[in-house]
Amino acid sequence: MATQHDESSTYEQVQASAEFQELRRRYRNWAFPVTVGFLLWYLLYVVLSGWARGFMGTKVFGNVNVALIFGILQFVSTFLIAWAYARHADKKLDPLSGKLRGEVEGTISE
């Protein structure tokens, strides 16, 4: 086992490496904007429910109105974002994080 000091500097070296910075960039550039996006999309829905009652009550077909469709669309967008994130993580994050994990654990247990 390496000492505590060596472990810490290993993490700092990995953190500074181009590969880790690439992983961090891929993660944050996807997760942060999408989070802002779905929160705004959700708040839009809440605000329309509070202040645009006429629009939300508009009937689209039969007794189905805009409010109901808007609500169902929140479900659809949630499912789609979850699916898209899984794809992004599988393709863009997992290979890189797996490689870096192997390197860090190899260095520390030497």
Binding site: E7, S8, S9, Y11, E12, V14, Q15, F20, L23, R24, Y27, A31, V34, T35, F38, L39, Y42, L43, Y45, V46, V47, S49, G50, W51, R53, M56, G57, F61, G62, N63, V64, N65, A67, L68, G71, Q74, F75, T78, F79, I81, A82, W83, Y85, A86, A89, D94, S97, G98, L100, R101, V104, E105, I108
Partner: protein, 536 residues
């Protein structure tokens, strides 16, 4: 055999089966990783179902169906907030937490901070949030037992609370996380099956024509087209701006609270890797999403077939809408016996739901007590695994006992607001601390402690001075009047305050450790050095 006897029989079968699982799990619980994290050996699907089991409380099954049945569309607003919230957990919290923590929420917060103050704050917050939630569920159980099993005497209600409390203590003390997780899985399967069955029968009754179901619901509610639009319960026009801001406040707390609920967060530790944690959250989102779509049909179906008036007569909050609907639709399709059987099944499922959720909450709070407060604050990290587990079991017993006494004492009080308060505290205190810990380099001990205590106290204080506690006929204390804060939900103010407190606390302290930040950042994103699964 009447429906009450059948309900009780079915419920006893559920209890016997889950106790069997719990004692089986206890023989496979050998160390702290087993007790706190179920050996980290659950699969993505299993943990996804358990996430659903922990999350789909009686409040969401009976409560949301009831709100929809009485106030129409507004109940759907609740479901949407509860579901979208899972994206915060999926994108920002689940995997990073699995990679950098061990047993509790505080493990992540204390990673690069001075452990004692941070663990104390996180432990206090975990136990507070869990007890609020626990109390609401247990008082709910006392109220429901009359309607579901025909037990109406005060002694009978108190007896029910004691039985629920003792069962949850047994699940946690004996089965630990392994037993509790299996209880959640069994419950999730039963709840989904029961809800799907009634939904299909309702849709079949309306010839699978959604528009005709909605039309009949609007008509039978006595409120017409307004029943299908927002505004009957939240953001009521006649109550002005405060009511609309309250809607936004509730929406914020729902969407940001989930990723800060301790009993949800510890679910991410029960799987072998971050990738499996991700899969389990995706399964959870699928299960929970489908469930809320089912409750939409159940709520409107109850309004259409039972009628809002008949539901309100049984229970003012509409909590019996789903069981009443089960009886009605069973009767319409299979005759009287069919109705009795379906009512009994749904009543038993509803009770199983309460039991599973309270077990999850007891586990979260006793884990935090043993791992954070006892092992790290009191014993300064010198406690052995065996000592920790023993203290966790004693804590589960003590917390359960306290919850039983408080719930009996609060039996006749309107404590439904405690669930919303738990979400508000989680969103205002826990979430800022977690997000700053994972993503903000400069964050430090003072910041973590300020975020948690700042968010916790502002949420609790604002509720104390809100119309929920005093000033109106439906308040906890209707005769007192100190309700200067106009909103029932504190989130709109307390969530920004929690984030701000964390920011200011951090800036006021010079503490900063670049090495530890490098370690948590690399570990959380790569999974290097993450806790491994234990297979027996």
């Amino acid at each position: 055999m009447n429906n009450h006897a059948l309900s009780i029989t079915l419920f006893v079968i559920f209890v016997a089966a889950t106790l069997g699982i719990t004692f089986w799990a206890s023989r496979h619980t050998k160390n702290a990783t087993d007790f706190y994290a179920g050996g980290r050996s659950f699969t993505g699907l299993q943990n996804g179902m358990a996430i659903g089991g922990d999350y789909m409380s009686a409040a969401s099954f009976l409560g949301i169906a009831g709100i929809i049945a009485l106030s129409g569309y507004d109940g759907f607003l609740y479901s949407i907030g509860f579901l979208v919230a899972w994206l915060v957990a999926l994108l920002l919290v689940a995997e990073l937490m699995r990679n950098s923590g061990k047993y509790t929420m505080a493990d992540v917060l204390a990673f690069r901070m001075s452990p004692r103050p941070v663990r104390t704050a996180a432990g206090v917050s975990t136990i507070t949030v869990s007890i609020f939630y626990l109390l609401a569920q247990m008082v709910g159980a006392g109220a429901l037992v009359g309607l579901l099993f025909g037990i109406t005497s005060p002694a009978g209600k108190a007896g029910t609370i004691v039985v629920v409390g003792l069962l949850m203590i047994v699940y946690v003390v004996v089965g630990g996380m392994k037993g509790t997780t299996w209880v959640q899985i069994v419950k999730a399967v039963l709840l989904m099956t029961g809800a799907a069955l009634v939904t299909i029968l309702v849709l079949a009754h309306f010839g699978f024509n959604l528009s005709s179901l909605l039309g009949t619901a609007a008509q039978q509610s006595g409120k017409g087209a307004a029943f299908l639009e927002p505004g009957l319960k939240y953001g009521v026009e006649a109550k002005g701006l405060a009511s609309k801001l309250d809607l936004v406040s509730l929406g914020l707390a729902l969407v940001l609270g989930t990723a800060g609920l301790p009993h949800i967060l510890i679910r991410f530790y029960t799987v072998p890797t971050a990738k499996v944690a991700r899969k389990s959250v995706i399964w959870g989102i699928g299960i929970i999403g489908v469930f809320y779509l089912l409750t939409l049909v159940l709520g409107f179906g109850a309004a259409a077939l039972v009628g809002s008036k008949a539901i309100a007569e049984q229970n003012k909050a509409g909590n019996t809408a789903a069981p009443q609907l089960a009886q009605k639709v069973g009767q319409l399709i299979f005759g009287d016996t069919g109705g009795t059987i379906l009512l009994a099944v749904i009543a038993a499922v509803a009770f199983a739901t309460i039991l599973a959720v309270v077990a999850g909450l007891t586990l979260a709070s006793s884990s935090s007590f043993a791992h954070d407060l006892y092992a790290h604050v009191f014993k300064r990290g010198t406690a052995t695994d065996a000592q920790e587990i023993r203290v966790a079991r004693i804590a589960a017993f003590a917390i359960g006992a306290v919850a039983i006494v408080l719930a009996i004492f609060a039996q006749d009080l309107n404590v439904a607001f405690l669930v919303a308060l738990a979400f508000a505290v989680a969103a205002s205190g826990n979430l800022p601390a977690i997000l700053y810990s994972l993503f903000w380099k400069r964050f430090n001990t003072a910041g973590a402690v300020s975020a948690i205590y700042g968010g916790l106290t502002s949420a609790v204080l604002l509720v104390i001075f809100s119309p929920v506690v005093s000033g109106t006929a439906t308040s906890l204390f209707p005769d007192a009047k100190f309700n200067w804060f106009p909103l029932e939900n504190p989130g709109l103010v307390s969530i920004p305050l929690g984030f701000l407190a964390g920011y200011i606390g951090t800036r006021l302290s010079k503490e900063f450790n670049a090495q530890k930040y490098a370690e948590i950042e690399v570990r959380s994103l790569t999974g290097a050095g993450a806790e491994k699964a234990v297979y027996h």
